[in-house]
Symmetry: C2
Subunit: 594 residues, 2 copies
């Protein structure tokens, strides 16, 4: 159950599919080059492998523990977090203005994959802190920024997002938590929030809660929700954590996975009201949360990639180690490791091909986020906005499938908890749910990202995919990729047109096809990236690069596997999108239960 960071592939994606020049051209990134990136990745990989990964299985077993409002994290977590902060890892991609290191997101994405692959329960803590940092950077007052950002960026304080309430899950219009002005410019918060990741723990000296609540005069629905910053300990004039705020951790959840990450139920204001400050303008809380959620959703997509990579590493190690049976068609041969059996190989290749497609698409998306932030590329924001629900939805759906293949490769051993393969499956199961279910992502995709601009951004991206396909040679090793990608892009375009046309006339039908459309988009975009990777690898091989010969040849074979096994599913998704809606609504509610 060791973990080795996929350094070679991360470098390949950054160098060949994004380009170090493009990264270095970002504002404030002129010092970034291949050597620096390699050094950062290597160092992070060492921390992930040596410090975080060994705590993953024990953390699952011990879990986080609640006792009378206090939460004790699993043995080793607090110490690992201290080392994480001391190493400066928390500040890696943060704004240098407040003490961050300003590493581009495309590079940081590789590092964040590592934290999550090594120990997803642990990595959730800094992931949530980054969300809080982003919200305060975007919308906080100067005083709030000065008070909170240095601590959050350093990591000595951690952050949370408080959205959900028992009656308000995906439907935030139903939020009931109230904020009452205290007459001195601050607010008293009262209400119950659930599913608060790292809402209470013992790893940092303070916890900064960002809380959605309603002002007394707020309109009903989503337009009456404001954002508040509510610290666990109220900082004094010097920014030192002072009095305990009126926030109580009522319990933590007993979950299927990520058991070392405490999921808190928080009661605000049982003793009169938790003291908080308004962040940004009143009644714009949901809008702020959505800005911040964009990045959080991207991060959750990376978690999907990460857990898939971890499951793959464990499964391939087992497949090379476990000896069982003889090789099919080989008479008189001895017993072989199960990696020699065709179906085990097929499963490993399925994992590998999907993972490499995700990694490439994830980092390309991170680069679009970098470009959008830099404001130099007009299409970048639309590109990033389009890709984020795909990264979140498609990566996380695949993560579960890949973790399940990891269990399958282990056979009976996979079902035994001590093996560790099952933990990845359990951990992965939250990913298509939190930060918006796959259904929510898909509705965001078809509505705000596709229908709203009449399919412009989607068609622009598809045009790039088609251009890639057309650059694929018509003969030779890569020729087989060409026809598959061209036809998949055509299906995607047809579905985009269908979606744009249908969204305005029959939103129910459009929504019924939303998840298949999201999966289609991800599948085709993954085919695009694996084809780009194969072309780049072929160019290296032609250029006589022998040092990485095996790696580059594998890229080509992996792209071919992706085309034959994954991209081949595009037709079914397209059929579901364009022909699946009537039957989705054919039955009454009662008939569904008949």
């Amino acid at each position: 159950m060791t973990y080795a960071a996929p350094l070679r592939d991360l470098r390949f994606v950054l160098e060949e599919l994004v380009g170090m020049d493009a990264v270095a051209a970002l504002p404030g990134a002129d010092h970034v080059n291949a050597e620096l990136v390699a050094a950062v990745l290597e160092e992070a990989g060492r921390f992930a492998a040596d410090v975080l990964a060994p705590l993953n299985a024990p953390g699952d077993k011990a879990g986080a523990r609640w006792d009378d409002g206090a939460v004790t994290t699993a043995p080793g977590f607090a110490d690992a977090y201290r080392r994480f902060v001391e190493g400066g890892w928390n500040a890696l991609s943060c704004n240098p203005e407040h003490g961050g290191q300003g590493l581009p997101k495309s590079v940081a994405a590789g590092v964040e994959e590592m934290w999550n692959a090594a120990n997803m329960s642990f990595a959730l803590c800094p992931l949530l802190t980054r969300g809080a940092i982003e919200a305060l950077e975007l919308t906080g007052s100067d005083a709030q920024k000065a008070l909170y950002l240095p601590k959050l960026i350093e990591g000595s304080w951690t952050g949370t997002m408080n959205l959900t309430e028992p009656q308000a899950g995906s439907d935030l219009a139903a939020v009931r938590t109230r904020a009452t002005p205290d007459g001195e410019g601050r607010y008293r918060i009262q209400g119950q929030k659930i599913y608060i990741t790292y809402g209470e723990h013992d790893m940092a000296e303070n916890i900064v809660h960002l809380v959605l609540a309603r002002l007394p005069d707020a309109p009903a629905g989503v337009k009456g929700i404001s954002l508040f910053v509510v610290p666990k300990f109220i900082p004094d004039a010097d920014g030192r954590p002072g009095a305990r705020n009126d926030i109580r951790c009522v319990s933590i959840e007993h979950k299927l996975g990520i058991k070392a990450s405490p999921t808190a139920v928080l009661a605000y204001g049982d003793a009169g009201g938790a003291l908080g400050e308004l962040v940004g303008e009143a009644n714009r809380g949901l809008e702020y949360m959505f800005i911040m959620m964009n990045n959080a959703r991207f991060q959750v997509g990376l978690q999907g990639l990460a857990i898939a990579e971890r499951a793959f590493q464990q499964a391939r190690a087992y497949a090379r180690d476990r000896v069982q049976g003889t090789e099919a068609g080989v008479r008189g041969g001895g017993r072989v490791p199960i990696i020699r059996h065709a179906d085990v190989r097929r499963m490993l290749m399925e994992m590998k091909a999907r993972i490499e497609a995700m990694r490439a698409l994830g980092i390309v998306t991170a680069h679009a986020l970098d470009l959008a932030q830099a404001g130099q590329d007009a299409g970048a924001q639309a590109r990033a906005d389009l890709l984020i629900p795909i990264v979140k939805g498609w990566f996380t759906e695949q993560a579960g499938d890949i973790a399940s293949l990891g269990v399958q490769i282990h056979g009976g051993m996979g079902f035994i908890e001590e093996t560790g393969a099952a933990q990845h499956l359990r951990d992965a199961r939250i990913l298509p749910i939190y930060e918006g279910t796959t259904g929510i992502q898909a509705n965001d995709l078809i509505g705000r990202k596709v229908a709203r601009d009449g399919g412009r951004a989607a068609h622009a991206l598809a045009a790039e995919m088609r251009a890639t396909a057309e650059r694929l040679p018509e003969s030779g090793e890569l020729a087989g990729l060409r026809a598959g990608l061209l036809s998949a892009v055509s299906l995607l375009n047809a579905c985009t047109d269908w979606m744009v046309a249908t969204y305005g006339t029959d939103i129910g039908a459009a929504s019924a096809g939303a998840v298949p459309y999201l999966k289609l988009f991800g599948t085709v975009a993954g085919g695009w990236q694996t084809a780009r990777a194969a072309m780049a690898a072929a160019a290296r091989l032609e250029g006589g690069d022998n040092a990485d010969r095996d790696f580059h040849q594998a890229k080509i074979g992996t792209a071919q596997f992706y085309a034959a096994h994954v991209l081949a599913q595009a037709g079914a998704y397209a059929h579901q999108v364009m022909h699946g809606a009537p039957a989705t609504f054919a039955l009454t509610d009662d008939q569904i239960a008949a």
Copy 2:
């Protein structure tokens, strides 16, 4: 988390897709009619819902406990088992010659679905006992039959199958357990067996282990394995459990799911050798196990159907209960239960369509098993043999997907263990592994069931599917099913031909396509059954049957959903089968890990 047996659908499948006349025409079944079947199903449904289902979640939580070689099952299990035996349920489908009730398998399958849906951990115990009964019926001596069968059929003794050893999982050629003649006609068994379901427990007065072991002079490999019956307590001359045999339960496994079902590690012969008798002829143990395994594999397929049904019942209840958001496209409407949201509906329909396809195919397969046993229909055995790996492999792969959809419909609640949705996912995860992984099933399918007879049985079944498709009307409500089924059957035939041709020349390539072929076969066969169901329902509606109008209309809509969403995947599977092998082998072992 209540359970209600799907009585209406079970009756529909038996009456419309098998036919009560066909059931009653079986030898010894002339008393079986629709009323009797309805009464049996209803009574079993009551027992499942009232006695077994309430123990499912508590059983998961408590688990089975090991202490110094003894296993205590979860609270309530022993009492429920006593009532199960007293109710005569264990003997339902057993041979009347030894006290069974001789109910046809097609009817018993419905009852077995219920036991497993209500409580899979519990149902595993009688499932394994049935396996032992079948082995002894087929191969035991008259004395063994007289001694063991009445007790096993009654259920006062339970049975186990002991195949696996640490080094011998899927590869039974590697079995090392030894059997040494004791000079008095019996044998001393020594060795370690793992993954023994209900290998030790407190629910019955004796446990009858069927054990694979090697005689001293046995040839190496699978042709040197013999079958032994080794009771926990050695029966005296009157058949009363006497001296404790030399079998020790070393531990039970800590598993992802089915936690109330003890999975034992058994040490045979630590104190000199466990006393056992040879069953059947020496060195034919594997052959006997395979006969018996056919039925066990069918039963595990039913478990997949069962757990899917349970997950569906829970998800649809939640979807009707949980209010969240407003209906898309409805302005000014209030909040609605989430079943009104298109994507939740799509997921529920996906569950329902796959479940009903499985139930129909499962019971049709059970009827083929009945016909094969009766020996009246020459093709029935080949039909049953062909379908069993499909039922085992396809049902169990779907079970995981369906249980996962059940979690997804619950959103964040699905990830909380108390909700119960996650248990179904955990329980279901063993199904594509035990009694032979999906890879093993698929190799059995392409080798023994398809290639060996040159595709004859497969083509015969496909011809029936095509005949069904051709009976579908070319206009009207059912016309849409026709083209999809015809084209899917053509793909299946093309893949069968490819498989037969390739198996002999390139077994590696054939094996690489084996699982996609199995899934293709299941998918098309499911489309066949749902189309048959739709036709039967349409005939009832045309005939003016208004009592079940909703049920019959739902059958048609469900078949349409299956065609648009599930059968649509046939093309991708066929592509994987016929074009996916080269890329599966494109990388070296080292490159897969590169």
